[in-house]
Subunit: 230 residues, 2 copies
DNA sequence: AAAATTGATTTTGTATACAGCTTGATTAAA
DNA sequence: TTTAATCAAGCTGTATACAAAATCAATTTT
């Protein structure tokens, strides 16, 4: 009798999400070297499907692979981060203009729950909670975007910028927790009225607020420098 | 002495561009089944790097792979094409708003050459020439987009929609040839003044004109039907 | 002693054999 | 004759061995 079950094969998309989140949560900081074989070992598969996942991460702009060197978690210069944020603020205003999806009652309920968690966050100031709330909030809004390619881009840009924003939040957790709580309040108001366009404009505003904090954090004068975490 | 040189290894990006263009030019029509082994044989490499290229094509939305079945060139329903065109028209207006690149003298010269070719096209009505002029025009405009992620999206959406637009053009070559000629004239005027914002708005307009032709071609009533070339 | 070069180690890139899945034809049964 | 089931062929997915590239250390040469 075998003592070990042959572990149920994990989906590649699950591995992708796992690695993506590790990168976004700075568990794998920019500059970190990932080893294909080590990842393969961890998930009990061979290098071939791991390379497939890594290629996806590469398309998402989260890693770059170089022969003989390794797979490196990408860094970012602040000018690029600025570009992403500027574009995100513009795309946000399109959410309501391009045939948004009607909001569902479950989504209102989900945001109400997130609002509770954001309220608790203001006391706990747990940075990891902040990120998870922010993360779930993102996907709820993403679901409201009716234009499929716009939604893809919205997600794409979010994951590119998330970890650098996450890095900023660590310097003043109280401030960003308050801001997140207020953002969710605003969104809940709009959501209850099924005014998706309003949500787009709310997002636009908080994105630009965030952009301002990023500029302060990295310093306007360092706009050409590389952003390096740790 | 060997009669055959060991053929210089072709770059993967070149294979990607080649396959992408075959798909966009409808040489590989929607629904066509590609075989990894056959492609590997053609380019003298093994299946492994071919699969990498195919994954790229998959991310570009040009093919989908299914286990046991094959790699199929994607089809498109007209509602999705409509989404892409609507989004493209919106993005076009951002070109000038998001720190565009200054135009270079070479670019003006290149567009002047394209204008000549577009003028000839009005006589020859060679559909393949139409596509090549359109293609090169796209990349010149793409280079003017200063915001890198916006430029990525611009390219991405172009290649997703190109072949279906190409399909539309075949029904009235004279009409689209005239339109392309006028479009390039308009762009040349703006380019000479280094008014990139103007180019964005010109693009917006011609994209919406194209959208109208697409609706006529596929029929407004068939908006939920699949677009199938052949 | 300093610098360059060579070699070992580590990593990604490639080739290839095999496993798993899907389809379609062929054969057997009703 | 029709229907169901089984088998074979062909494709993508996976594992693994090997090739190529880059780095770092040790050694040799100047």
């Amino acid at each position: 009798m075998k003592t070990k079950q042959p572990a149920a094969r994990i989906e590649l998309s699950a591995i992708y999400s796992e690695l993506r989140d590790r990168i976004c949560l700075l568990q794998y900081a920019p500059g970190t070297r990932l080893r294909e074989e080590q990842i393969a070992k961890e998930f009990g598969i061979s290098r071939t499907p791991v390379r497939e996942v890594i290629q996806k991460l590469s398309f998402a702009g989260l890693v770059t692979s170089k022969n003989g060197i390794g797979t490196i978690v990408t860094e970012m210069d602040s000018s690029k981060l600025l570009e992403i944020y500027t574009l995100r603020s513009k795309l946000a205003t399109m959410i309501g203009e391009l045939t948004p999806n009607d909001c569902q009652p479950e989504q209102v309920a989900a945001v109400e729950k997130l609002l509770d968690r954001a309220r608790n966050l203001k006391d706990s100031l747990e940075i990891r909670d902040y990120w998870m709330i922010n993360h779930e909030m993102h996907f709820i809004i993403s679901e409201l975007i009716g234009n499929a390619p716009l939604r893809e881009m919205w997600d794409h840009l979010y994951f590119q910028a998330a970890r650098f924003w996450y890095d900023v939040t660590r310097t003043d957790v109280k401030d960003v927790a308050d801001s997140l709580h207020r953002e969710i309040e605003d969104i809940l108001i709009a959501l209850r009225m099924n005014d998706i366009a309003a949500i787009g404009y709310i997002e636009r505003n908080y994105i630009t607020y965030g952009l301002r904090k990023i500029k302060v954090h990295y310093g306007e004068c360092e706009l050409t420098h590389k952003i390096r975490t740790k």
